[in-house]
Amino acid sequence: MTLSIRFFINAALLIILALVPFLTDWAGDSFYTGLVSRILILAIAALSLNLLIGYGGMVSFGHAAYIGVGAYVVGIGAFHAFEDGIDWMLNGYFQLFTTLAVSAVIALIIGAISLRTRGVYFIMITMAFSQMLYFTAVGVETYGADDGLTIYSRSDMMGLIDLNDEKSLYYLIFVSLLAVLYLMHRLVGSQFGNVIRGTKSNEARMRAIGYSPYKYRLTAFVIAGIIAGYAGFLMANLSDFVSPDMMHWTRSGDLIIMIVLGGIANLFGPLYGAVVFLMLGELLSSIPLTIGGLSVGEYWQLIFGPLLIFIVLYARNGIDSFLPGKGRRT
């Protein structure tokens, strides 16, 4: 019974999301289509990170780096097409394939080294690697260094889908989100998912019954990296812009906040977390209240900070604690 209430809430959210472009059309306000697109892309990245943090207990503090990698693939492709007239670099399938391949290789390298460590050391080493990627982007002057790259043409999907059309792009993002949700659902429920979750709670036992946790963890790490890279591919096409800022460690922190806000190890959690995190900033910063000549909205982080502490202390499952019915617990 309780599960079904949860089911309806999740379904209702997805249905509303499916209708967003029409709702904003009706309201005559296309700004929200863009905003929700951004939220959904970050939700995709957060979903992939949840596989590591929520289910696998691997607190990766450098996940935004893969978003940056994916975005830079699109940005660099568009740059060469625009500057040097190399048109095939604009090909969306080429860009997509490169994105996935590059993020897989990078995640494989980072994961292979980082997964030797545990706990805080793991947090720090993943952050170190993402900072190296960040500084690499800052240092490469050809591709705009810290000013970033403006993307003059979005990925060319050869007529299959027109990414310049706001609605088409939105639905590509939305369908991608559904696909990632489904993938996560299947992954977590599979044998593979059992081992990942098992290594979180009791590594020695998993080893004793004959699994090598390292290999499974590394696989999860690479899968998460690829999905985040894909999110970067989408992000670049949405914002027409890439900059090193996308890879900064604070961006990785944002993703973690989304996961915790949404409730850790909960399939839909990162989606709720992304929605609330981004809307909260938007809402709090536009509070039209002035006290003693000071605009409250400008000091919204003064409210957001303690709110974060409160959620950690008293609402351990994030937004999940406020939703009726029991979410999927592990």
Binding site: I16, L17, V20, A27, R38, T150, V275
Partner: protein, 391 residues
């Protein structure tokens, strides 16, 4: 039940409230700057200037009420872009102005010009937007990054500097500044340090190298908070007696109250100074000081000009903003009294303007400010203008 409500609210919040159609008899201007974080000091100065400009206009342009919507970019490109999107699509503003940082401007500018909204930079002057990527709907009331250090290069030549050491942060504007000074400086550059940005706050290692290199002069560019830090450390290192300092955008009226003592006598180039002698500037500086109790910075001056430029265009089309081409032509004409005197755009919509050498001095009330020493360039146009295809 209550819990269900909360979940519903988060879903509905997504959709927002349908906005009222833009009241046709308002002039709406979005102003994007940094209000939060440590860089908020610059944003505050700019906002004060915009408020003053609106006050000087009596709150009206061509008889229509002016509405300014301030947005905070939090010093992050993606937030700046999101805020610009909101201004353009949700608030449906007629003009977007502001922008302190080049990376925020670069991220945001497509959002504005692709949707047919005029974009006016009140500070950032990246070379790309002045050159190859110039756009007919983009205007600047500041300068292009290279211009100010080019003027400085000339000053160094005039003063007989043979050996120069350069320090600047390693980011786009920093590199533009270095390129600028290298364009005109004729002597030898004996050392160059591009320091980490924005995390590097201690310059001891670089200052030690400067001392060892024994140059005739040191040229630096450290904007915002880094300027105060640099000046303090330069003073502590006791270099002033052996290696005189020349700067651009390092000392401004925001930092002068803090570092005035160390900076007194220091030389810099700029397109403007509070003591620039023309009626608009005198009124601007006097009213600004009376209202806020401190000198306006160049950020403030440029922001004031942005609003006045918009006003001139709105007046010229008699408040009818529906004809995009007419408004553009009116903006391009720039028929207004600027804080720099006469105002004229180049083909790339960056001002053609004078550059001055100015010096930090104490005014009659004991406040630190700058005064003009000499004019370095008259009617100077940035070097990227020729790369711009607009006529």
């Amino acid at each position: 039940m209550n819990r269900k409500l909360i979940s519903l609210v988060s879903a509905v919040a997504l959709l927002g409230v349908p906005v009222m159609a833009n009241a046709a008899d308002n002039v709406k201007i979005g102003f994007v700057t940094t209000l939060s974080t440590g860089a908020g000091a610059i944003g505050k100065d700019m906002r004060e200037a915009v408020d003053l400009a609106v006050e000087h206009l009596g709150g009206k342009m061509a008889g229509k009420p002016v509405e300014i919507i301030y947005e905070d970019d939090e010093f992050k490109p993606e937030i700046g872009k999101q805020k610009t999107d909101k201004l353009v699509k949700k608030d449906k503003v007629d003009f977007v102005a502001g922008f302190i940082w080049s990376h925020v401007l670069m991220a945001s500018y497509k959002s504005a010009v692709d949707n047919g909204t005029f974009l006016i930079s009140s500070n950032a002057g990246p070379s790309a937007l002045a050159g190859k990527l110039c756009n007919e709907d983009f205007f600047s009331t500041s300068w292009q990054n290279d211009q100010t250090p080019m003027a400085m290069g000339e000053v160094l030549n005039q003063r007989g500097i043979k050996k120069l050491y350069i320090m600047a942060p390693n980011y786009a504007a920093g590199k533009n500044m270095v390129t600028g000074v290298e364009r005109t400086f004729k002597g030898e550059i004996v050392g160059k340090d591009m320091t980490k940005f924005p995390d590097q706050l201690d310059f001891s290692a670089e200052l030690a190298k400067v001392r060892a290199a024994k140059p005739d002069a040191l040229f630096v560019f450290y904007p915002g908070k880094h300027g105060a830090q640099f000046m303090t450390q330069y003073a502590q290192a006791d270099l002033a007696s052996t290696v005189p300092l020349y700067t651009t955008f390092t000392i401004d009226s925001i930092s002068l109250p803090r570092i005035g003592e160390q900076a007194e006598g220091s030389l810099m180039t700029m397109f403007w100074s509070p003591d620039l002698d023309n009626p608009t500037n005198k009124k601007f500086v006097a009213d600004f000081k009376a209202k806020y109790g401190h000198y306006p910075s160049h950020y403030a001056a440029q922001s004031y000009d942005s609003i006045m430029l918009i006003d001139s265009a709105v007046e010229k089309v008699k408040g009818d903003l529906s004809n995009h081409d007419a408004v553009r032509a009116a903006l391009k004409e720039a028929d207004f009294k600027s804080i720099r005197g006469d105002f004229k755009f180049g083909n790339n919509h960056v001002p053609i303007q004078n550059f001055y050498l100015r010096q930090v001095v104490k005014d009659a009330d004991g406040q630190y400010t700058t005064k003009i020493v000499s004019t370095v360039y008259e009617n100077h146009q940035d070097p990227y203008a020729q790369e711009c295809k607009m006529k």
